[in-house]
Symmetry: C2
Subunit: 449 residues, 2 copies
């Protein structure tokens, strides 16, 4: 019975006489019969949800509240490590593959330091969102377990490679990636460039509050992500997070257009210079397209992987001298994205260094720290001179997306003319041809004073 530790009273009641790793058969209220191996109670989530490993290798959560009858079949010896999913047994629900990378969506408090550590096991996610059992069959893996602020471009490659592999080998309806929110936008953009054609969406999802807190948004985000992964007609890299403060609406943001705009709110993620691709509503589980154009699901898997790590993102500020830019060129950097002011400016005193960088084969991109709007370097003299020096405008791309894209382009070619051609090509809807008024959030304040 010690093995059942952590299970709730209701679960313990139906589990009378059963041990962890026993094979059991469960009949639910709705008549469904599930047979599988009882797994240990996951660290988090509903304590009255039993987690079974099914013969096909998938785990499923079953709420003790919905169990009509439970029967012990026998005993299997626990194996170390996750068994490879066996896909021979088909069930009617669509399949999703869940990749854990670390991050708040499943994390735990270190009671010594009081800080939260990223933590991820597939079973926990599954038990955390009991509704998933009606939505999808999950296969899960923990690919990485690092803080999202510690992810580097080489991690993007690793994730992209694994996603391509999963789509090729297992043909899920979609892949969901549990990711820390801090750098989720960067990774989402990276996957958009690396995964040129895929059969279904790659849905990044995170949580602003860790799953061990009552106010956690982890479960609802995960459910919305799963719905998007299944119902989306598109096969793009997207981020699914809360649309507002309530738990009913979720936006599906294009990875190349999304940015974390708040340190802590559950609706921190925003599409910048675009509207979200789609909206998911809970609890009715509806999926509604907002954007008209998208990359549809395809039978192909085309991976163009690899990111140049010798690319920097520099933010311009009034006291900035040319020394950091000069330093990066001296250090053999291949590309620099400068987050300039307004329409795409830097101080005139930096222009000779931009020219030197370009002359030495370093790609220089100018984005705007305004974030919204579009770089236009033909309006003011500074912009014109930057263009003459060989700088490339980031158009309406986020500086972060421009940085990711330049890293990706420079891993394909270092020939500046070709870099320019690829960089200025719209590859994954990262450039919206037309800026619309509704892209910019309205500004109105309840005037209560």
């Amino acid at each position: 019975m010690g093995e059942l530790e952590g299970y709730g009273d209701l679960a313990l009641e139906v589990l009378e006489g059963v041990s962890v790793f026993d094979e059991i058969e469960v009949e639910r209220e709705d008549g469904a019969v599930l047979r599988g191996v009882l797994l240990p109670r996951p660290r988090y989530g509903d304590p009255d949800v039993l987690v079974l490993k099914l013969p096909n290798g998938y785990n499923i959560g079953v709420s003790a509240r919905r169990i009509k009858q439970l029967r012990r079949i026998g005993r299997v010896e626990p194996t170390r490590g996750a068994a490879a999913p066996q896909l021979s047994i088909k069930r009617s629900l669509p399949r999703i593959h869940l990749i854990g990378t670390g991050g708040t969506i499943a994390s735990r408090v270190d009671y010594l330091t009081g800080a939260v550590y990223p933590y991820f096991t597939a079973e926990e996610i599954y038990s955390m969102v009991p509704e998933l059992e009606e939505v999808a069959l999950l296969s899960c893996e923990t690919l990485l377990n690092v803080f999202s602020e510690d992810l580097t471009p080489s991690h993007w490659s690793k994730i992209a490679e694994r996603v391509a592999q999963v789509f090729e080998r297992e043909q899920p309806a979609g892949v969901v990636i549990a990711h820390g929110t801090d750098t989720m936008g960067y990774t989402a953009a990276a996957l958009a460039f690396a995964l040129r054609r895929i059969p279904g969406p790659v849905v990044l999802v995170g949580a602003q509050r860790s799953s061990d807190r009552p106010s956690s948004d982890a479960a609802t985000n995960m459910l919305a992500a799963a719905i998007a992964a299944i119902k989306a007609p598109f096969a793009e890299s997207v981020v699914v997070m809360h649309a507002g403060l309530d738990d009913t609406s979720f936006y599906v943001h294009r990875g190349v257009k999304v940015r974390k705009m708040h340190t802590s709110r559950r609706d921190a993620f925003r599409s910048v210079n675009a509207i979200p691709l789609a909206k998911v509503s809970l609890p009715d589980r509806s999926f509604h397209m907002l954007a008209r154009r998208y990359l549809p699901r395809s039978n192909e898997v085309t991976l163009e992987n690899g990111f140049d790590e010798k690319v920097a993102l520099l933010k311009f500020y009034p006291g900035m001298g040319p020394e950091v830019l000069e330093f990066l060129v001296d250090r053999g950097y291949h590309g620099v994205v400068i987050e300039g002011t307004g329409l795409g400016h830097v101080a005139t005193r930096l222009i000779p260094s931009v020219r030197r960088a370009v002359d030495e084969g370093v790609a220089v991109v100018i984005a705007s720290q305004c974030l919204w709007g579009r770089v236009n370097m033909n309006v003011y003299r500074t912009g014109v001179e930057l263009l003459k020096a060989g700088a490339m405008p980031a158009e309406d791309m986020l500086p972060e997306t421009a940085y990711v894209k330049l890293s990706w382009v420079l891993a394909r070619t270092r020939e500046l003319k070709e870099v320019k051609r690829i960089f200025s090509t719209n590859l994954a809807f990262e450039i919206e041809e037309r800026s619309e008024n509704r892209f910019y959030p309205p500004q109105s304040y309840i005037e209560r004073e």
Copy 2:
């Protein structure tokens, strides 16, 4: 007659027989009689507005449409350079001092390159906004004429010094600073820290479209800025710009809380982690406070001027190594603001460099690239370790404001304990104690597809 070049048909009609630099007397429809020297037609603005230099040194614009009668008195010889304002002659309107620094609010196209140059003369501003004659008496000067992207912390000091001097010597109701929009937020924050106590507001104003374009927002912004300068009960550094796309509502943003959030829209400026201080409505010229707390007008002028130029603003990104931070420490920088991710994180691999920087007496501040929300380094291990390494949280300050504040603090003291104490003190409402939901703009999209 050649001198009247550029004046419109209506103006030319009333100016029959008059030359530029003639002394004239004008009777307006409303009975007011103005006597002054006719100035050459300014480059921009309404061609049917006559510009007169009054005996008190102020210029005034008079619309030809409103002139009942015009009489030539005599001839004065033009003098080079602007005459110093003579304040002995009082008029009933409140006085505003306008300082030009360059920027789009008065700029011109270079027809050779097609680019726009900043351009500023007081007369042009005055004729550009004929409504100002009913609102304020203006004294004007061009203090700087540089692109706003070329402004440095030493320019902030120069502007602050001049504002203090103007308030001391001339006691205007307020000072209006015409400023390029690119770095207006930075300068506005700088003035907030340098001008500790002043008798009236310092109102920064700019234009997103240059004044030679029909769609220019220069005139309406300037009028709203003048109204704010006169009617404000506060004596803070603020930015006045369009609240939305129409020409009726204008927000008065606190300088330490404002940010340019769009490359080109007239409502580009946003208060971040605060609501605007006030709202100005046109054409009824009403002024309405939104915030409750503010620094009131005072009789004192307390200037604490000077900014440390050895301060850098670094944006963290996933591929960032410790080398740039190390380079800045090697180069003898005194402070670095790092725009981290989320609640205030950087990659774990950077923490030893943060520790080294602090050990060598360099002040390190962590802000958030989310912009909205508040840095909280007690939640995750990375934050806890950054705090242990000696980094200071920027609270809910914009990274740009944190950078300006750190530059200001380091010009006062380099003793890290004291730097920390001053930096974490709320000096100019740059830290809002409580985050309110309404600080974050709502996210809703017209779902037309």
